[in-house]
Symmetry: C2
Subunit: 311 residues, 2 copies
């Protein structure tokens, strides 16, 4: 397996990304990492850390898509950026997965322009992991790819989240909940009211009904489905809680598990290849786990399973 | 001033509400509390606690609207419920404010059926307080009265939140932010994209642009505006964090300020009288603060100010 890593992506790139690649190398057990970006800079950092550059493959690129750039424009205009090159390689099968802690929008646009959505999928989704109070994880999607969603799109997110929970996290018959503002079927906004009956009827996943904001860290469901507007606000609010507990020096096993570094990043689901987007402030540890999550996505054959589900 | 208190509302009523009335009495300085509900039960509780029942006025009612009842049906069918009677008294001017820790939906329906929305107001909003990390409070609305909102409705919520921040909390020229998923004007769902330009143009409040989930506990804005679906999910997620820190025994001044008991309840804004809804699990302390918030709303003449703003 060859995993492509954008070494120019993230606020601390290329240092954090290259050091993360070293950490990933130690546990990748024979799988090859392809570093995409400024080759000279990478080799300099590796030498500084007494690491043999021959352990990696390299694809040199001359451009970088900044965190604030307009995604579509940047992907189109910067053909030799690490993100654009990464997606070209992914499309051509030169790498089996691609991950980056760079511009999320550019990663989404790059995915849709290059490897494209899986036939039958209306919209891809960005997925995140939240820690459960009693151990384990919950899956939340979408967290920002689609600010406005149709009911059919939310139903598809249920399928995507369910397959990810099974394939990548080994959860059997995952319980899928609709994020809403009340337990009863008739509760919620128009989107949820239209989505609930569709989810209730589907045989594609194990729908257990509505969940509320307070259920996110509990164990009543494994997968929480919402539109990307709601999910992004939830994600950023939850992150701010984590930041607050850290700032205050509150030590607790649960809050430690909030640390995004442990989860590596957010997979983009519903596209024809494994793609993971890391947090902009990714540390070497986070980069390592982003690479390992990419590996898990390849090994679990999640893309093939999603393709099959939508045939 | 006469403040009506529904002594049958909340999970621990009437004991918690009657004990809360005693606490409120100690600080109300001459203003009269009218206890609405089972008079005999109230007097029994007061005598048990060696409190002179003559310190309150009473309006005996024979029915109770349960927490799980359908709001509209319950308000219409239970004419002698404490909530229905409370609103009748409010409409007829026998009390200057009404508060209850009972069925939120019934409180909303009761408001709209009895005192009605202020002319010009499209939809009333339920408002909540969130603690700021560096001290003080932020205001969030709507947190559940309107799951789906039009842009014009969000603009009105900006006016309501701004007037409440000024009148009740003494914040000068309150900064109003639109809760969104990015800082730039063009970010967000269709609702936010349509709302931003309207807020930018308005002279009715000090619009400072978009806020994100992570900004809720910061001091970049004083008022956060969103639809009731988003606000309700935010509110319940934030509450769950508070519950988690309490369960884990984490002591911190900031988390203590999350305690809903301190804020007393959520005002319903945009209606022709001061109405406050308390948390279902309200303790005597929370009931006391709900009554005091009602008093503050009367004294600040918030209803008159909102009426003037929409003339």
């Amino acid at each position: 397996m060859k995993i492509g890593l954008d070494i120019m992506g993230g606020d601390y790139a290329p240092k954090a990304t290259v050091l993360g690649a070293i950490e990933a190398y130690k546990v990748l057990q024979g799988h090859k990492l392809v570093l995409i970006g400024d080759k000279e800079a990478a080799i300099g950092i590796l030498r500084e850390h007494n690491f043999d550059p021959d352990n990696f493959e390299y694809v040199h690129t001359t451009e970088v898509i900044g965190m604030g750039e307009h995604p579509t424009k940047a992907v189109v205009q910067k053909a030799d950026s690490s993100i654009s090159v990464g997606f070209r390689m992914l499309k051509e099968g030169q790498i089996d997965a691609f991950s980056s802690a760079g511009n999320t929008g550019a990663m989404l646009v790059g995915s849709m322009f290059s490897v494209k959505t899986i036939p039958g999928i209306l919209r891809p989704a960005i997925t995140t992991i939240v820690p459960r109070l009693n151990g384990g994880i919950n899956i939340l999607l979408d967290v920002g790819a689609n600010a406005d969603c149709k009911p059919e799109v939310l139903v598809q997110f249920g399928v995507l989240g369910s397959l990810m929970a099974q394939s990548v996290y080994g959860i059997e018959n995952p319980r899928v909940a609709l994020m809403n503002i009340g337990e009863e079927e008739e509760k919620g906004n128009l989107l949820c009211q239209a989505t609930y009956p569709l989810m209730k009827e589907t045989s594609q996943f194990n729908f257990i009904g509505n969940a509320e904001g307070r259920d996110l860290f509990g164990d009543a469901a494994d997968v929480f489905v919402c539109d990307g507007f709601t999910g992004n606000i939830i994600l950023k609010l939850a992150e701010s809680f984590y930041v607050i507990t850290r700032k205050k020096g509150l030590k607790d096993e649960f809050f430690d598990r909030f640390n995004y570094e442990q989860y590596g990043g957010s997979p983009i689901l519903g596209i024809n290849a494994p793609v993971v987007v890391g947090h902009g402030i990714s540390s070497p540890e986070a980069i390592k786990n982003m690479v390992l999550l990419s590996k898990d996505m390849v090994e679990s054959e999640l893309v093939a399973k999603v393709t099959e589900a939508f045939q």
